[in-house]
């Protein structure tokens, strides 16, 4: 049944007839007496009204009618309005002579939208939001609703396309003037935020606004330092520079982050993406990246070489070649061991992260994630059987215990967990501690049996399972759904 038929009207009924029918039904279905009935009636009325207006035979009669609230908000302004001629009957005589100068009907000459957008963008670039707002308000063309809507749309589209440098306050003034800053204006708020950030950064990076930028990046001491840092970022990616700066990737990355408020993708095109990516990767402690390995390698090589050189120099002063060789070798070995420790530490961090992820996050190798601690304990038993009291046999349960405790701790539901800093150094302390407790004490008190050592990781692991019991997924089911 078509909406018009629902009102008991033929398909060629006009708006007047529809309104009469609606009014009659409305008297029986008042909004305060019958809310549901009224909602249905009103929805039908809106649809019937739309049908009426679509009807080509009646189009001329309904031109100039645009009432109704049923449609979705934020869509285009009524297209019919453009075709609606100014009402010739009543409107003209009411126009007083004094108002003739401010006639608001669509001007005969088409408004230069592009020119207006360019002007607005130029004015916004100056950074004075109040002046921009006043300039917009003073433009007589925008007393016309239709033109204002059109101009607002064109300007915002242009901003999205070109992303000209503009401070956030000016963008806000524009959106406010064109009434586009509200939730139903139909703009994706995230896209708008991105646009705002992007334009603001481009504006700040203009040479004229260096002092303001310097003030925002508080610890940045002078404009000259800022210039140097920016020049460094803007320069294309080159290996020679990477090697030269290998010691400070974290500082560069921090500068990028504060400069872009954590959104490096907002940087203008002239910044070399590859270089930025490289510096950010090199400073990212959560992942093992090529950049990070490379940086570590360079540092490590430099440390080892330096140690060796130092040894050589000391020996040369002592004039004892044998001693010099041994010293160089010794210092080199220290450098090498440091490097190994660093590698182990780097490998440990992602393992710890992966193992300590919350239960509901989809992890890689979920079964391994769940059973890593028991597996390690099993491995420890095996090693101990083959090489009793060896260092390896002790290291395995210590690592297992540590991972289990960390997991339990990280996944604990409370927000009030102790600060995590202690956990960064603790892995290095736990081995000597365990050795003193379990192995060296062996001679004194008879020591613990190996399985007793393994109760620590298993206990922590079991505790964690208990805490997480509400969240434990049936892993096989999830896997099946993923297929």
């Amino acid at each position: 049944m078509s909406p018009l038929e629902w009102f008991g009207l033929g398909g060629d009924a006009d708006e007047r007839a529809l309104k009469r029918a609606y009014a009659q039904r409305l008297r029986r279905t008042r909004p305060e007496d019958d809310p549901e009935g009224f909602q249905q009636l009103h929805a039908m009325y809106q649809r019937a009204l739309a049908q009426c207006r679509r009807n080509p035979a009646l189009a001329p009669a309904s031109a100039g009618d645009g009432g109704g609230n049923g449609g979705p908000a934020g869509d285009a302004p009524p297209a019919a309005a453009a075709a609606a001629p100014p009402r010739a009957d009543g409107a003209a005589p009411r126009m007083p002579a004094a108002m003739a100068g401010t006639d608001l009907r669509p001007p005969a000459v088409r408004f230069d939208l592009d020119g207006f957008c360019t002007q607005a963008i130029d004015r916004a670039a100056s950074g004075d939001a109040d002046a921009l707002g006043r300039w917009l308000q003073a433009r007589p063309e925008f007393w016309s609703l239709q033109l204002k809507t059109e101009a607002g749309r064109a300007l915002v589209q242009r901003l999205y396309r070109e992303r000209p440098p503009m401070p956030a306050a000016c963008l806000d003034a524009i959106l406010r003037f064109f009434d586009l800053h509200h939730a139903t204006a139909g703009h994706d708020p995230l896209a708008l935020q991105r646009l705002e950030r992007h334009m603001q950064l481009a504006w700040e990076l203009q040479p004229a606004h260096r002092a303001a930028l310097c003030a925002r990046l508080r610890p940045m001491p002078t404009v000259r330092t800022l210039d140097r840092q920016l020049a460094l970022l803007e320069a294309p990616f080159r290996w020679s520079r990477v090697i030269a700066l290998a010691v400070f990737p974290a500082r560069i990355a921090m500068f990028v982050n504060t400069l872009t408020r954590g959104h490096p993708e907002d940087l203008p095109e002239r910044f070399d993406r590859r270089a930025i990516r490289f510096w950010l990767d090199a400073a990212d402690r959560t992942r093992i990246t090529r950049a990070r390995l490379l940086m570590g390698g360079i540092r490590w090589l430099a440390a080892t070489l330096l140690g060796a050189l130092l040894g050589c120099a000391i020996a040369w002063l002592d004039a004892d070649p044998a001693e010099a060789g041994r010293l160089a070798l010794g210092l080199g070995a220290v450098g090498f061991t440091m490097g190994l420790c660093w590698l182990a530490w780097m490998a440990y961090q992602p393992l710890d992260r992966w193992h300590g992820l919350p239960e509901h996050v989809a992890v890689r190798w979920p079964w391994l994630n769940l059973l890593l601690v028991p597996l390690l304990c099993g491995l420890g038993l095996g090693v101990n059987a083959l090489l009793p009291h060896s260092v390896l046999a002790l290291v395995v349960p210590v690592v297992a215990a540590w991972l289990a405790i960390r997991r339990c701790w990280r996944r604990f539901p409370s927000q009030r967990r102790p600060h995590a800093a202690i956990f960064r150094v603790a892995p290095f302390l736990i081995y000597p501690l365990a050795r003193v407790l379990f192995v060296d004490a062996d001679d004194v008190r008879g020591g613990f049996a190996y399985w007793q050592i393994l109760t620590v990781p298993m206990l922590a692991w079991g505790l964690d399972l208990w805490f997480q019991r509400a969240h434990l997924r049936v892993r096989s089911r999830t896997a099946a759904q993923a297929d």
Partner: protein, 562 residues
């Protein structure tokens, strides 16, 4: 008997839908407009209306005005020995109005329809209802002021099949509504407004300019002097509507003030205020999906709309002169009377049906994923869009952001900003979901239902389990609960009020005291007159008092030609 009340920022009116159509009741002084001012006199009696308004000049600490702007807030005002919330102050005005109606009708009035600005928020509407309860009347309905004005206009002109815009610039609030009338149906298409824009702001602009010209800091004048200056400027503002240039001359303490302002300067001063009016007008037109040519009439109401500047703004925007068939001060009250008649199912109004809209957007907070897929919270997701016809009911579906969430919190907001931080929070509903299910299977259907009385009901149903949760937002945080209302009602009942018969005398004395402050040269004379009138009051001889009152009033009129 249901009365209709216009509870305005500066003036209030009361009336009824009588046999011969809407009729307004005068207060004891014979005026239809009662100033919305509350004060206390020296022996602790509460004064409402003109007497309190005069007292604002002579004793600024003992009277308060424009409290409608504080409705829905916790702000308390000290008057005499106790403090009052804005609801209580409004309730005192309502009581005075109801007493006028009861005196005119000779019976008890227990129910009322009260008009509120269309753009009043949920909290402000609830505060208005609470004020009604505190005044001892049941508020049958709140009607939007522009809608009320449209009812009055519609009844008077019977414009069939026409669309018009009601432009309501009152003392403290600005409202716009776009309506259509056909076959006895009054259909509101859209409302928009600004709750902090009204005649008072024009006066503020004038005062700021005057003080700046005289080289005075805003706090250089003490309260009585400021009250006096504002009164003079108010008169000047009114005069500027008809005269090219106005001169303000008065003595404030030691200072003699002589200040001139012409229309052009005034227009320049209030230009920012006029610009602020554009946004609601444009928004209402856009929401109604209308172009200016498609409007048949523009109706101006509200006292401040008398300024020619306002008419000029309207003509500039709509290309035609606004209509002035209805009385700008009374239109809303007359409309409220019509609404009261409709509520009382008056036979002559049964053909009329009114459909109104919800002027603001209602929705909840959501998180959105940015380009890196990280969830960002704090975004407003509209469910009932502004200017939806009420009653309305809309449903939307939400999912948990993260896997393993044990519940979702539906934060209910009212406002237009895309960020919830800039909107008004109405309440929240916690909906537990099964954390073991992946988010896409954890859908929660949320339904917002908004009824004609402005009560919002939020229902949530978890799709997986079919469990339902409900939240009815009847009381907002910061507003009075029923127990507090009962307590406050009892406390208000203890306040002393002058008997109706004596109110004219009280008002006359208050006026004389104000004139005493304002006219330095006539102080001795005034003192004598006041003493003589007080002596007459002491005699309690009704005839003598009436005689004296007439003489005293006439004497005061010579000082202050109307």
């Amino acid at each position: 008997m249901i009365v209709g009340i216009d509870l305005g920022t500066t003036h209030s009116l009361i009336g009824i839908y009588a046999d011969d159509g809407p009729r307004l009741f005068p207060n004891p002084l014979g005026d239809l407009l009662t100033p919305s001012v509350v004060g206390v006199d020296d022996d602790g009696h509460v004064l409402v209306g003109q007497a309190a308004r005069d007292r604002m000049v002579s004793h600024p600490q003992q009277a308060v005005a424009a409290f409608k702007r504080w409705m829905g807030t916790d702000r308390e005002t000290r008057l005499g020995r106790r403090t009052f919330r804005p609801e209580e102050l409004s309730a005192l005005v309502l009581r005075a109005l109801v007493a006028d109606a009861e005196a005119a009708l000779g019976g008890r009035v227990a129910e009322a329809v009260i008009s509120v600005p269309a753009y009043f928020s949920d909290a402000q509407r609830k505060a208005t209802r609470a004020a009604g309860e505190l005044a001892g009347i049941r508020v049958e309905r709140l009607i939007n002021e522009p809608t009320a004005a449209a009812l009055a206009y519609g009844l008077q002109e019977r414009p069939d099949g026409s669309r018009f815009l009601v432009f309501d610039l009152g003392g403290g609030t600005f409202d716009v509504s776009v309506l259509e009338m056909f076959e006895g149906v009054v259909e509101v298409h859209a409302s928009a407004g600004d709750n902090f824009l009204g005649g008072e702001d024009f006066l503020d602009a004038l005062e700021a300019a005057c003080l700046a010209d005289l080289g005075l800091a805003p706090d250089a004048l003490d309260a009585p002097q400021r009250g006096q200056l504002r009164r003079r400027l108010e008169t000047a503002k009114r005069a500027l509507s008809s005269e090219e240039e106005v001169r303000v001359e008065c003595r404030l303490g030691e200072r003699a003030i002589d200040w001139r302002i012409d229309q052009q300067r005034f227009a320049h001063l209030v230009e920012p205020l006029l610009q602020r009016m554009r946004a609601p007008l444009e928004r209402a037109m856009r929401d109604a999906r209308l172009q200016p040519e498609q409007l048949d009439e523009i109706v101006l109401v509200g006292g401040a709309s008398r300024m020619p500047l306002v008419a000029r703004l309207v003509s500039r925007m709509f290309g035609r002169l606004p209509l002035r068939h209805v009385h700008p001060d009374q239109a809303i009250a007359l409309g409220a009377c019509v609404a009261a008649g409709m509520k009382a199912r008056d036979r002559r109004l049964e053909e009329m049906v009114l459909t109104d809209v919800c002027p603001y957007t209602l929705g909840t907070e959501v998180a959105r994923r940015d380009e890196q897929g990280r969830p960002q919270s704090g975004f407003f997701h509209p469910i009932i869009q502004r200017n939806s016809v009420v009653p309305t009911s809309r449903e939307d579906t939400f999912w948990p952001v993260q896997p393993g969430q044990s519940g979702i919190v539906l934060q209910v907001y009212q406002g237009e900003s895309p960020l919830v931080a800039n909107n008004i929070k109405l309440g929240e509903l916690k909906v537990p979901v099964d954390p073991r299910l992946p988010p896409e299977q954890n859908a929660v259907d949320v339904r917002f239902t908004y009824d004609v009385n402005g009560v919002l009901q939020v229902e949530a149903a978890v799709r997986a389990t079919g469990k339902r949760h409900e939240l009815v937002l009847e009381r907002n945080p910061g507003l009075l609960d029923p127990r507090q209302i009962r307590e406050r009602l009892a406390a208000l009942a203890e306040l002393k009020v002058h008997p109706r018969a004596k109110q004219e005398n009280v008002a006359l004395l208050a006026r004389a005291e104000r004139l005493y402050e304002e006219h330095l040269h006539a102080r001795e004379q005034l003192q004598q007159w006041i003493a003589r009138f007080r002596a007459a009051l002491e005699t309690q001889d009704e005839l003598l008092i009436r005689e004296h009152r007439r003489e005293f009033g006439a004497a005061l009129d010579t000082l202050e030609p109307a």
